[in-house]
Symmetry: C2
Subunit: 548 residues, 2 copies
């Protein structure tokens, strides 16, 4: 058995190590175009900012280590230029010497990754304009950043741009993020990005939404990024982080199938349209576990697991890759934004029925010092209650709740299962009713009909004539500090004695700060024979939909 | 409908609030013996130590709040003395006035809780000797602690004792913990408590195992705790935290069934042997979800959920309580110990087949600063791979992994599902191969036969003649810093070229530091035709079984 692995980072390195464990005898060659294998992609922004001080830390393993420990034939600076599927040979170019040669194979695993998209605008090749993919890019950006850069412009408001923004702020560099969509972090629903937008502002990062670069120009002082709005942003460092494209050239030229967005097509066994060629990682299309559709999810976790599975299958096992659910997380200073499964906009686009709830819990018992707030959004099937997706934004403990919900999605659990989850509780770690239980209670109450809820956007979007009577059940102090326009204030604790003040011929939409008092108010109103719903997630959720 | 709820803390307060939401018209009376309802039991040690500074924070809600918001008839300092099931009346004693009266009911929910066990030894009633159950106990202990206490003796090495120990250390009080078993935290397996024992020592807490108090005596200087070993421990404050007993007197006298350990018997609907009387919380027996057996799990999370479910059923719904899996967590300074599901000793006692693995991962990517170590123990069914239990001890991130595994147990997932979990990864939060994935890989490899493993205790316990050849595949530096007695050192990177040094007629047990290199070594040896197993969890696991 002779296995060639094209690409030696996440998926490729995993595939190589797994292959050796499966077979001591196999001839295993790893071709890597760059000088490094298996480096810590996700750490690159933190090395630029100095949080990771030692560059060697980014080298998860080295070619030498792979050679010695795994008896792998690792060839760095080696580019696989073509695959001849008929003769089962690849053509390799040694980038150092320029020499080309052929290598035969029994099986190939493609782990070619994805390349940062470089828009075709003038000035992309100017010194000081970068994309970030590997350690060499990192070195160049870090070198430049240390040469007295005062202003950086980051194109794209995705994960990497925001991670870079944190690090440039740390370096004391004035940072502007430009995003062509009307929101940052596009896998999230827009309202859930609002706390991150607020945090960007509080750290002094300028955010320009719905704008994009049309050119980068060289001036006497450095660079200028010219936006489609006409705005001109001076900078000494410009980084484009506007998405990635699967590196599919090798696959396409070899006649392998690729999807509409360029991802290499694979079956459940990560096999391409040629059964002797497997593909993994950022280069491939994967099945979305919620929608069942093909999509692209360029993330390290799935890439690593795919590498392992492709190796298994290359060596004659029969292991299915179950698909990807898009679990992702961003840390921006002390803020965390994390998600798993489908977003609301993905469900809308797919015309898939869903309901949603928002809760605003503390990450641990409120009576213990240091409780940090978060907002959790839960999306679920309106008939079965199956969890379809979740997003969380806040401080500590967001990662834990999204991981728990990721498992719930994997297991096909429902909101009724969330109600029953028995999670670890001591006051430093959670609450006797954990945020996950609370999300289950709110969603379960909705589906059981105990807790009729309406989405705040629906209330606000309804024509004036059909708009429900807005009832704010918070205290007068809370009400006067801000409320939904048009709302009338009757605190929940007075509601039973003031029912006569409410209309009997009109739907009442009650709300409080986060939803809990509004829920009780709704129960009181319903049982008094009034028509009532609770505005899910209360005033805090309303505020998520308001511009900052 | 007239509902009486006996007990107004966790389960009782939850039942009361839920009941009101279900019915505005019902007459709902809550009897609470103490002056407070719904206080934060789990916070009491931290108020004593001052971490929670404000006593009011411990009052999750007040009788007034329950009256106003939930229209509940809350009667504190009211003891329900008897239930007459024939006439459907209870006899109540107003503890303030001494007056007794009757109250009729349609349904009763018993939430009487559990009382700290007070051993029948001399001196239990001396001033300065306490148990800790409620705010009044807390006040007394705090008052005493502030009166120049220099030495405290905590009887029992359970969760509350260790939480108290942390707080007494914070107060600068010399602290001794006495535990009658040969380990602290008895729900855990002994080896998993070792890191906590080490932490106790590092904080200056004296731990005496396999000892118990035979008497407490008054001396001129204060108190002396007399142990069965003859040791005498001077102290000015003594707290017994040696377990709790269900408060079942009311139930027993009313002729309701109780289990062998005193827990009130309930069916899946939390109904006692009288269909009009429900019971919840620390007072009841619950079904263990792993063993299916009746057990007692006095924890706040289950009590709260049971209160909700009992209310549902009292109001004519039909909601099953699914049972309890014993998820629990301890924080001791920066150490965390958490568990869920069955322990090894419970499985052994039940004669239930299982396998186990240990892993020693960092809580997030090693290349990012601040990664903290942990040990995770995973117990699973040897045939199906179903997860049966998990224990984790370490620093940050232990709570997250145990919560994830708690959900896995709830969902009936297997170790193969753990391999595929897609958890949130960025270097501050986890690893591309999360500890959960790693545990799945190690356990899955074991069950698939790819990764034959042996438990280190089994190796050590085997008679010399049958003992395998012990092969340490770490570096010479690691080996010389400590190794399993009798082991021979061949670093994994030299193994392929030194196979001739190994016996062909004897089983080889390889090991490294945590299990990963040992796994590769095992693969190399097996494929070279030798008989080999890996010692699961490596040298670090061996060390867990060694006395400190």
């Amino acid at each position: 058995m002779k296995l060639l692995i094209v690409g030696g980072v996440a998926g490729g390195a995993s595939a190589a190590a797994r292959s050796r464990r499966l077979s001591e005898d196999a001839e295993i060659v790893v071709f890597e175009r760059g000088p490094d294998v298996s480096f810590a992609n996700c750490g690159l922004p933190y090395y630029i900012g100095g949080e990771i001080a030692d560059r060697k830390k980014l080298l998860v393993t080295t070619p030498e280590m792979l050679r010695t420990r795994f008896k792998l034939d690792v060839r760095t600076q080696s580019s696989v230029e073509a695959i001849d599927r008929k003769t089962k040979k690849v053509r390799v170019r040694d980038l150092a010497s320029g020499r080309e040669y052929e290598e035969s194979y029994d099986k190939v695993i493609l782990a070619t990754g994805a390349a940062p998209f470089r828009p075709s605008i003038p000035g992309m090749d100017l010194p000081g304009v970068f994309t970030l993919r590997n350690l060499q890019d990192t070195d160049h950006i870090k070198e430049r950043a240390n040469q007295g850069v005062k202003q950086v412009v980051l194109l794209g408001g995705g994960f990497i741009s925001l991670e870079l923004a944190e690090n440039f702020v740390r370096l004391g560099i004035s940072t502007t993020v430009v995003e062509k969509n009307d929101q940052i972090l596009t896998p999230f629903d827009k309202e859930m990005t609002q706390p991150v937008v607020a945090e960007l502002a509080s750290k002094g990062v300028t955010l320009l939404l719905s704008q994009s670069a049309e050119a980068v120009e060289q001036t006497a002082d450095g660079l200028v990024v010219c936006l489609n709005s006409g705005q001109r942003l001076p900078a000494q460092l410009v980084i484009f982080g506007v998405g990635v494209r699967p590196e599919n050239k090798l696959a396409v030229e070899a006649g392998l199938e690729v999807g509409p967005r360029g991802g290499i097509r694979v079956n459940d066994y990560l096999q391409t349209s040629d059964p002797n060629i497997f593909a993994v990682g950022d280069a491939i299309e994967v099945k979305d576990v919620i929608s069942g559709e093909q999509t692209q999810v360029p993330l390290a976790g799935p890439a690593n697991r795919q590498g392992r599975i492709a190796a298994d299958n290359a060596f004659g096992r029969s292991v299915k890759y179950r698909g990807t659910q898009g679990t992702a997380i961003l840390g921006f200073f002390d803020r965390t934004a994390a998600m798993t499964g489908a977003s609301e906009k993905v469900l809308r686009r797919a015309d898939r029925p869903f309901r949603k709830v928002y809760i605003h819990p503390a990450h641990h018992a409120g009576y213990y010092p240091g409780a940090e707030g978060m907002v959790l959004k839960l999306l679920f099937d309106p008939t079965t209650g199956r969890v379809l997706g979740a997003q969380g934004v806040g401080g500590a403990g967001v990662d834990k709740r999204i991981d728990v919900l990721a498992v719930a999605i994997q297991a096909g659990m429902t909101v009724f299962d969330l109600e029953e989850m028995e999670l670890a509780y001591a006051p430093q770690f959670g609450s006797a009713k954990d945020p996950i239980n609370m999300a289950g209670f709110v969603a379960g109450g909705l589906l059981r009909g105990d807790h009729p809820q309406v989405d705040v956007e629906a209330v606000l979007a309804s024509p004036a004539a059909e708009r429900p009577f807005l009832l704010d059940v918070r205290t007068p102090q809370e009400f006067s500090a801000g409320h939904i326009p048009g709302a009338v204030n009757i605190p929940v604790d007075e509601l039973r004695s003031r029912l006569a003040e409410l209309p009997r011929d009109r739907k009442i939409a009650a709300y409080c700060q986060v939803g809990q008092r509004g829920y009780l108010a709704t129960r009181i109103l319903l049982q008094a024979g009034l028509s009532a719903v609770n505005i899910g997630g209360g005033y805090k959720t309303f505020k998520l939909f308001q511009p900052l």
